[in-house]
Symmetry: C2
Subunit: 172 residues, 2 copies
């Protein structure tokens, strides 16, 4: 997979209550934040309906912003089985949206994401938020944390592909 053609990435931070999203574009000179936010999954609704809401929201975001790729946080194995099942349900819907829209999906571990954005794999949420704001030249800190994390995932994907591209170029 080459960096060529991958300029706009939708990062999704899946969660049981809030699912953050962030679209970042790589221009020649800088990273530009296109949009970010979080979809709340109301506990008042049955789970299936919550998933349908999330599906609708994510499809609308993809249709509107036409990302070239979707990046998602990789599995965090330390969670318990109950949390993992909940997270999996949300993650399944997010990955489905990407596939239905023809976007390739990339997965990154929390360590990779924090390393790419903060330069330190065990960074705190606040540090990620601050670095995301700086890298994207945002006037305010992106909130909630879920949205900041989603932007971080998108940045991580763009960084990774920029690195692959540089390595590819140096060989040619």
């Amino acid at each position: 997979m080459s960096y060529i053609g991958i300029v706009r990435v939708l990062g999704i931070d899946c969660g049981g209550e809030f699912t953050g999203y962030g679209v970042v574009e790589q221009t020649e000179a800088s990273l530009v934040c296109i949009t970010y936010g979080a979809v709340a999954l109301s506990r008042a609704q049955p789970l299936a309906e919550r998933l349908a809401c999330l599906f609708g929201e994510l499809r609308a975001i993809v249709a509107r912003h036409q990302p070239d790729a979707v990046a998602i946080e990789d599995v965090f194995y330390a969670v318990n089985a109950k949390s993992a099942l909940k997270l999996g349900q949300v993650r399944g819907v997010a990955m489905l949206v990407a596939a239905l829209e023809g976007c390739p999906v990339a997965e990154y571990s929390p360590l990779s994401i924090k390393s790419a954005v903060v330069g330190y794999g065990r960074a705190e949420k606040q540090q990620v938020q601050q670095m995301v704001a700086r890298l994207l030249a945002l006037a305010t800190l992106p909130a909630p944390f879920d949205a900041a994390d989603a932007l971080a995932i998108a940045i991580c994907h763009l960084h990774t592909h920029a690195t692959l591209e540089r390595h590819g170029s140096s060989r040619s």
Copy 2:
């Protein structure tokens, strides 16, 4: 939720490799098997594409057989976090299909399903398969096990609602 109007149920047995399905109809005198089978999720495909295949298959089944409700096996907490995440991804897609098609979703524990079908909560897969064949008057055992389990989930839902209905009727 009343039993009235719930006559045809789609049972789904979610799994990482095979997802079984079975449609059962409650007529006045008996339970009738409308269809059953299993959707294989090829490991050769990326996960997102596998989920998109499953989504397409399940939507086609719902569109064709128009169930009044969807029944799914409830969470089995004893699995590890990795399996739970995988299962959750498939489960999220199955629940999404139900919600998008306007079908209410009911969840039953493995214990309830086996008790409803075999009369014993710790029944083996073979016993479930045999009892499903007997209850639905099938000439051959439903296979694979995923499909037999899906039929068992549908039967469990119909039994549960028949019981609720009887209790409701006795009060009126």
